[in-house]
């Protein structure tokens, strides 16, 4: 006979309470309460982040790694403490593997210029997917121009999923580097990155994951994934703009030359010979974004206080609800119907251009992104100039979904 076990259910996720942590959500837009459905472009910041930044700027700011005075020590402790916070958040082995950058874009460019450019040449291949954001296309095109290597693109299907079979066929001994999104920003598709990484490693290729849209919506463990490089942005993770992270495996980073030169990235400088600093500072020339790092660490504390898995489950419920609601509207076509999606709902409305839709929704206080989402090849694949995109964050509610549906009705009315 089975034991009578009662498992305590976790407390239900309370998005209404979470909303109180985000003062900007009280904003009125065009006479309506703000309905913020654009977190995939940039999320809002909770009070915990705003206060951490203010506290740092008010009490602890000086330059880092430079002074013996009290404030410089406090700033250094805050900045390096933030690095340790990031390490724990993504389960990196050591803080030497955590490079602070401006954002995902800079992280990818760093790998393109400091890893790929010195190593690749004619005959070598870089493999990406057709789902990529421009920031994970153009840096590799530049490397191809610089080195003579070739860019290969794995196709997607009509649901907006990577065609894994085709991807695997494009992998080969010439593949030196694979760069793919963890989650597509335009469609929300979750890519099978663990499988991709294993397959790429089978050919000795190094893998960079663009995690900008994944880190806010799932627990990312860079070691469990086996990623060689993993880049993400602070401002999509409820942290400040202008701060992001490039994770890199230590042995790869150690073998790479610096890519920007200046203060802090050196140990000694003479006109005859300069020696570079150790990891991670070798890649952080100049005074870094200290308050940004402090804010990002506070955002990670905040997310863990809510529970990353609980947020992800909540967002999945909203995505499913919104998908079901929009699927009932005959004039709406959902673009991107992958089996595994996160946070993002891209769509078009028959007879209404996405740009007009964006204006009409805005007049109702509903903020969505309209345009090509910096993923023009994805739009071209679907034969569209643009889509409207609603994206969900930890503070969105069923009410926001209802407001979206109502505002779409308004658009239908205007264009009736």
């Amino acid at each position: 006979m089975a034991a009578n076990v009662s498992l305590a259910a976790p407390p239900p996720y309370d998005a209404e309470r979470v909303r109180h942590d985000f003062p900007i959500l009280d904003t009125m837009v065009n006479g309506h309460p703000l309905v913020y459905l654009d977190s995939a472009a940039s999320s809002q910041r909770p009070l915990a982040v705003l206060r951490a930044v203010e506290d740092y700027e008010t009490h602890s700011h000086a330059n880092v790694h430079r002074g013996v005075h009290a404030l410089s020590q406090a700033a250094t402790a805050a900045y390096e403490g933030a690095r340790e916070r990031v390490r724990r958040f993504i389960n990196a082995r050591t803080t030497r593997e955590i490079i602070f950058v401006r954002g995902t874009t800079e992280g990818i460019n760093l790998v393109a210029q400091a890893y790929a450019r010195p190593r690749l040449g004619a005959g070598d291949e870089i493999l990406i997917s057709a789902l990529e954001h421009h920031a994970n296309i153009v840096p590799w095109q530049m490397v191809c121009e610089q080195t003579g290597c070739t860019l290969k693109v794995a196709p997607i299907n009509r649901r907006g999923e990577l065609q894994l079979e085709e991807f695997l066929k494009l992998l080969g001994p010439r593949t030196r580097l694979v760069a793919v999104a963890h989650v597509s920003n335009a469609l929300g598709t979750v890519l099978p990155v663990k499988r991709i990484i294993e397959a790429a490693h089978g050919f000795g290729a190094v893998v960079l994951i663009d995690g900008a849209q994944a880190v806010p919506h799932s627990r990312v463990d860079v070691r469990a994934l086996g990623a060689d490089f993993y880049a993400f942005s602070g401002h999509k993770l409820y942290g400040p703009t202008g701060i992001g992270v490039l994770y890199g495996r230590e042995e790869l980073l150690a073998a790479m030359p610096p890519w920007q030169a200046g203060g802090d990235m050196i140990l000694t400088v003479s006109f005859e010979k300069t020696t570079y600093n150790e990891l991670p500072w070798k890649f952080e020339a100049g005074t870094p974004n200290i308050s940004g790092a402090v804010g990002l660490a506070a955002a990670m504390d905040y997310l863990e206080s809510l529970g990353v898995e609980a947020i992800a489950a909540h967002e999945q419920r909203l995505l499913q609800l919104a998908t079901a609601e929009l699927a009932r509207l005959p004039e709406i076509e959902i673009i991107g119907t992958a089996a595994h999606k996160a946070s993002v709902l891209s769509f078009t409305m028959k007879g209404v251009h996405p740009h007009d839709l964006g204006t009409i929704l805005d007049a109702e206080g509903v903020a969505v992104r309209t345009g090509h989402h910096c993923a023009m090849p994805v739009m071209t694949f679907f034969g569209l100039p643009a889509t409207a995109r609603a994206s969900f964050g930890c503070y969105n509610t069923e009410r926001d979904v209802a407001s979206l549906v109502q505002a779409l009705g308004k658009a239908r009315e205007v264009f009736a």
Partner: protein, 147 residues
């Protein structure tokens, strides 16, 4: 912010049934306009009779504001000479951007675009066709961009 001011009946009508839509070959002038922000693209074709625009067509994909503006423009400029078109463009530009722009009888149906000025991010949608026409008249063939 009043949506009815932006999406007036004239605008919605010209969006749904754009006038002078299409192309012709050969053309005395043609240009392509592109607004990379929203992906709008349109081409303008002109046939000249001396200084005068004898015929004009446009084609492309865009939002309601850009399609309607292009459609209204083709009706307004047909038969006018370059100098008159330039003067009209100046009036349209003032209409789109200046809150103190007085109603100008010379604008005719183009006055329906006055609601755009309350929506600054949409001004480029309405002005793209005019910049493109300008390029077609000035250079004969060109691609222009709002960015």
């Amino acid at each position: 912010m009043d949506l009815k001011e932006l999406y007036r009946d004239v605008i919605l009508d010209h969006n749904r049934h754009p006038r002078n839509f299409g192309s012709f070959e050969p053309a005395d002038g043609r240009a392509e306009g592109h607004n990379p922000l929203c992906g709008d693209r349109l081409s303008v074709f002109v046939r000249m009779d001396g200084e005068r625009v004898a015929d004009i067509r446009f084609e492309g994909k865009g939002c309601a504001i850009s399609t309607a503006s292009a459609s209204l423009m083709t009706e307004a400029v047909k038969g006018k000479d370059r100098a008159a078109i330039r003067a009209l463009f100046d009036k349209v530009h003032a209409l789109l951007t200046r809150s103190d722009a007085a109603p100008d009888g010379a604008l005719g149906k183009l006055a329906a675009l006055s609601g755009v000025r309350e929506f600054p991010v949409r001004v480029k949608c309405a002005s793209l066709c005019w910049h493109t026409l300008n390029a077609a008249l000035e250079h004969g063939a060109a691609t222009i961009s709002t960015e």
